[in-house]
């Protein structure tokens, strides 16, 4: 089985994120870059599948030079090879352009399974897996809390409010996974050393056969007009219970649209 896992480098989940004033894109220098947490579940699921059934895991990432660290992280967990799409022309790409680049990098490589985390912790749109599936003309099994591969049949449980749906499709297929699916492993010291010797191909926009004008900030279908820093934490509201405390709390929650 040949599995691709698409991963993204995001600013450290715990760090305060900032946008750059000049073009309203993420200031990647302001925080440490880490492997998107939700993608770790996808890497783990891929590793478990090949540990059980044999095969190869290729990590695919689009991002600036330093996103290479994120590919290495996935390789140190146990993935076999990486593909890094890196090109200044891609800076500021929206989900549509990102999906175009990923689809080009993935197509024709014979992947049976293309795995994604269900969303990135920075953009949080959850649309790239569906867009890539659409561009490649493949079935999409999204938000999986369980994945089973039986020959060429891929079956998932899709998490739902009422329980789960069972969905299946024939490989090749695009699957996105939720955090419930597994517990991602830590790399090992030996894994980190081994990762340094694993192959990582780099691809540019030209290598992918994309027109530079179709990607990047200028081609984005949405734009950030303005942004403001989060206001500092204000003092809390104290409600003294004079017998009507419960009502006052309910009123407050209702004003804040919590209830």
């Amino acid at each position: 089985m040949k599995i691709a896992v698409c991963v993204k480098q995001v600013p450290d989940t715990w760090a305060e994120k900032r946008l750059k004033p000049e073009d309203s894109t993420l200031d990647r220098e302001s925080a440490e870059g880490v492997l998107n947490e939700l993608d770790e579940y996808a890497v783990e699921e891929a590793l478990r599948l090949i540990e059980a059934q044999g095969g190869e895991v290729v990590v695919v990432s689009m991002g600036p030079e330093r996103a290479g660290e994120t590919i290495r992280k996935a390789l140190s967990m146990g993935a076999d090879a990486g593909i890094h799409i890196v090109d200044d022309a891609l800076h500021g790409s929206d989900a549509i352009a990102t999906s175009a680049a990923l689809a080009k990098a993935l197509e024709g490589r014979g992947f049976d399974l293309i795995l994604f985390g269900s969303e990135s912790t920075d953009a949080r749109m959850s649309v790239v897996p569906a867009m890539v599936a659409e561009r490649l003309g493949l079935p999409q099994l999204t938000f999986a809390q369980k994945v089973e591969v039986d020959g060429s049949t891929v079956r998932i449980e899709r998490q739902a409010e009422y329980g789960y749906d069972s969905i299946e499709a024939s490989a090749p297929v695009v699957v996105s996974v939720v955090e419930k699916i597994n517990e991602p492993r830590y790399p090992s010291f030996k894994g980190i050393m081994a990762a340094k010797k694993k192959p990582v191909d780099t691809l540019t926009v030209a290598d992918l056969g994309l027109e530079p004008v179709t990607v990047g900030l200028a081609a984005a279908w949405s734009a950030v007009d303005e942004f403001a820093a989060r206001p500092p934490k204000a003092a809390g509201t104290v409600i003294a219970d004079d017998g009507a405390g419960g009502v006052k709390i309910a009123d407050y929650l209702s004003q804040q649209k919590f209830i």
């Binding site: 830590y186 790399p187 010291f189 030996k190 980190i192 050393m193």
Partner: protein, 383 residues
Amino acid sequence: MTLTLIERSLPTPKAADLLGLTREIAAGELLPRADIDEEAARFPRDVLRLLGSAGLMSLPFPEEFGGGGQPYAVYLQVLEEISRAWLSVGISVSVHGLATYPVAVAGTRAQQDEWLPFMLSGEALGAYCLSEPQSGSDAAALATRAQLDGDTYVVSGTKAWITHGGVADFYSVMVRTSDNGHRGISCLLVPADSPGLCSAPPERKMGANASRTAAMILDGVRVPVGRRIGDEGTGFPIALSALDAGRLGIAACAVGLAQAALDASVSYARQRQQFGRPISEVQGIQFMLADMATQVSAARGLYLDAARRKDAGLTYSREAAMAKLFATDAAMRITTDAVQIHGGHGYTRDFPVERYFREAKVLQIVEGTNQVQRIVIGRDLTR
């Protein structure tokens, strides 16, 4: 949870990656659980398995048996980061290294082939048994007797203060094979499931309660001669040389604990407001923090100096004793000051410094009391 980055002098990019991995696991697995498991006195065997599979239980041992092949100067900094997140786990890693040391250093090739892979992967957890109820600082007075019966030793006695007592998979036990003083001591490797070996109830300690400590009772335990490490009568030098290395481990644990107390104090002082400003702006507090930070750095420098001597093949007994003495005394002072900076809060279990303070004390006692360290240093100076 995160740990602030300490800029370290590391010899290789490999070592930097190793410290990165350590910080990731410390922040993700150790920090979130330390308070809870300490409160419940729960021994975190699963955490040690995880450290084992990550390769962190065997860093200073040779790669050919599954070790990390790292110099002590790197291993100890890993140990420091682990202890900074959770001292009991740091102690476990250090003691596991101490228990593995005899086989790794004095075992035959066959013994190493048979046991080291399990020890170094952390699959088998080790305990080191030297002290006895009547033989602590005077270790050579140990009385646990091993009588030869054909090609098997029959071992009886009690070993005291055993870290991992009752939860270890193997015990490196110093026993008396003759009455010839310290020349009558041998080292045996005793598997946990040996009939006649059992653990007393865990000690009820002041701190580091997630780290299990118990006496081990050996009652006619049969140990084949093939499980003796080194020649008969060579156990004492093996035990002492393991302790030299173990002292460096405890020094690194102490620096980790002291660093954690310093981190907590800086962070508390910056947010605690009195007289309309953070107490971190009060010079009296700043001076305390400055002294704490200086001692942490000095202690780190001392253990690294001793470690580099060891890595270079120089003698390091005296330096290891100095590092252990200074680092653990410093940890006691620093955790005491950390409680002081936290004021009333520092005396409650709602802040971690109360626990750090209790934990620091044991480091002045284990692996040779700090009085014994002074004896080691003094004898070396005047011999």
